[in-house]
């Protein structure tokens, strides 16, 4: 059978949760589809206090924000249906989406869709990069913060962006030592305050360094790192081998946009947004009418921006179906202002220039 619904939201992370909440509040019937057995996406692993302002729940920890948004969804009663353990496996040109819901094949034809599928982690090529013990930063967070299991005893972190810095800090909190944080750029990519937190706890941050290889019989036993020049060439006689049982790769995220490709959305490769992203208008609607985007799938940013985008996409998707409260204009302006503020600083310069390339009319 084919389910019909006003709005399907694909992904129950920060963006999807906000989209579902906002659209339901406006009066739309919403189906929220989440691949995992629980809502929250990457929020549940974020044990640090969020940046931003009160509107984006700054100072709250990601895992608490996730619980709060999930609870709010429950307040809409039958207007909101949540399918957990539901992976959207196909998005067809006639607007039908197909789903693996707990092993059962389902088809849904929604009037509108918000795609909030997030991102996947980039991988790095170096000899023995496939050894067990080499994990993505998200995997390390999942082990520690979802299952409560230490990923190892001594970790070498690759990447000093915000995720690399935050996960290093979380490793220390879990009682795991961090041998060093290795960063290819000549400067730390993440916020200075995150860097200072791990630095004073004794973790060296090695900028202009790269991983040369990993070694170990059955799993990681050591990693070799080296200094690099501006052209990313290894400088001779700077190689060092570090004993570690985990190498954590945190070299960035790329939008998980395969459903948008399938739907026929016009895409553009924009490096500063993490890879191929859909073109969108100021309502976050893609070139395929009725398909909206929010969060990392629209370009890699912080979770605070993902939440505001989710709210905007939910608002616009509902409004395009006629669910428009008298506060619609006010809410829309509020979203726009919050996004502009979050993206206004020097740390968001790359995001601003990337987004300028992703606009369409």
């Amino acid at each position: 059978m084919m389910y019909e619904i006003d709005l399907a939201v694909i992904g129950g992370g920060p963006a999807g949760l906000m989209a579902a909440n906002t659209a339901a509040e406006a009066g739309a019937k919403v189906l929220l589809l989440e691949r995992d057995g629980h809502l929250g996406g990457q929020l549940v692993k974020q044990t640090h206090k969020f940046f931003g302002s009160e509107e984006q729940h700054a100072s709250m920890r990601g895992n608490d924000i996730s619980t709060m948004l999930g609870d709010r969804l429950g307040s809409f009663g039958e207007r909101v249906t949540v399918w957990k353990s539901a992976t959207v496996i196909g998005f067809y040109e006639d607007g039908v989406i197909t789903i693996d819901h707990n092993g059962i094949y389902k088809k849904v034809k929604p009037m509108r869709v918000v795609v909030a599928t997030g991102a996947s982690e980039k991988f790095l090529s170096f000899p023995n990069n496939d050894l067990p013990g080499i994990y993505g930063a998200g995997a390390v967070q999942t082990m520690m913060n979802v299952y409560g299991i230490r990923p190892g005893q001594r970790v070498l972190m690759i990447g000093a962006g915000n995720i690399g810095l935050i996960v290093s800090y979380q490793l220390l909190q879990a009682g795991v030592s961090v041998a060093a944080i290795v960063e290819g750029l000549p400067h730390i990519g993440g916020y200075a305050v995150h860097a200072s937190k791990v630095r004073r706890a004794g973790v060296p941050i090695l900028t202009s360094h790269t991983i040369v290889r990993a070694d170990g019989a059955e799993s990681v036993e050591s990693a070799t790192i080296a200094e690099i020049d501006r052209g990313w060439n290894v400088i001779q006689r700077t190689m060092k081998t570090i004993a570690c049982d985990v190498i954590c790769i945190s070299v960035g995220l790329t939008p998980l946009a395969e459903l948008l490709w399938q739907a026929g959305c016009k895409m553009r490769y924009i490096p500063s947004l993490g890879g191929s992203v859909p073109l969108r208008n100021d309502c976050l609607e893609t070139t395929v009418k009725g398909v909206f985007i929010a969060g990392d799938v629209s370009g890699i940013e912080e979770a605070s921006a993902a939440m505001v985008e989710g709210r905007l996409a939910g608002l616009e998707a509902a409004a395009s179906l006629g669910f428009k409260s008298e506060r619609y204009c006010e809410e829309r302006n509020d979203c726009m202002e919050q996004l502009a503020a979050l993206r206004s600083g020097p740390t968001a310069e790359k995001i601003r220039s990337g987004l300028a390339c992703a606009e369409c009319r």
């Binding site: 895992n63 982690e121 496939d130 995997a139 299952y147 409560g148 299991i149 879990a174």
Partner: protein, 106 residues
């Protein structure tokens, strides 16, 4: 090996879920309620989940959220189970996978 489970965390509280018994390559092991197969194995110090069918190189999970499919194992005789997302259940027979996997009922 030592227990890899975190019992005292500054932010999070991990409830001590019920113990779940399973076997890995014939060895009896314990996991906790809420574990996936891969997380329970990791807590027991098992990082190698399989070997590549062609290169014979050891395989462990990379993403732990069902994207990379590097964690495929044989569970209760069924090949290619994504152990990083499959919940652990009592009495499971978990085995290292060495090949591409064979269809069951063959």
């Amino acid at each position: 090996m030592g227990d890899r489970r975190i019992t005292n965390h500054p932010i999070l509280q991990f409830s001590e879920g019920e113990i779940i018994h399973f076997t890995f390559d014939g060895k009896p092991m314990e996991g906790r309620e809420g574990d996936t197969i891969a997380s329970a194995l990791h807590a027991n110090g098992v990082k190698v989940l399989g070997y590549h069918f062609m290169t014979k190189r050891p395989r462990g999970f990379y993403c732990a959220i069902g994207n990379c499919s590097s964690c495929l194992m044989i569970v209760n005789g069924k090949s290619n189970v994504r152990t990083c997302t499959a919940p652990l259940k009592s009495g499971m027979i978990v085995e290292t996978q060495y090949d591409r996997g064979v269809p069951d009922d063959v």
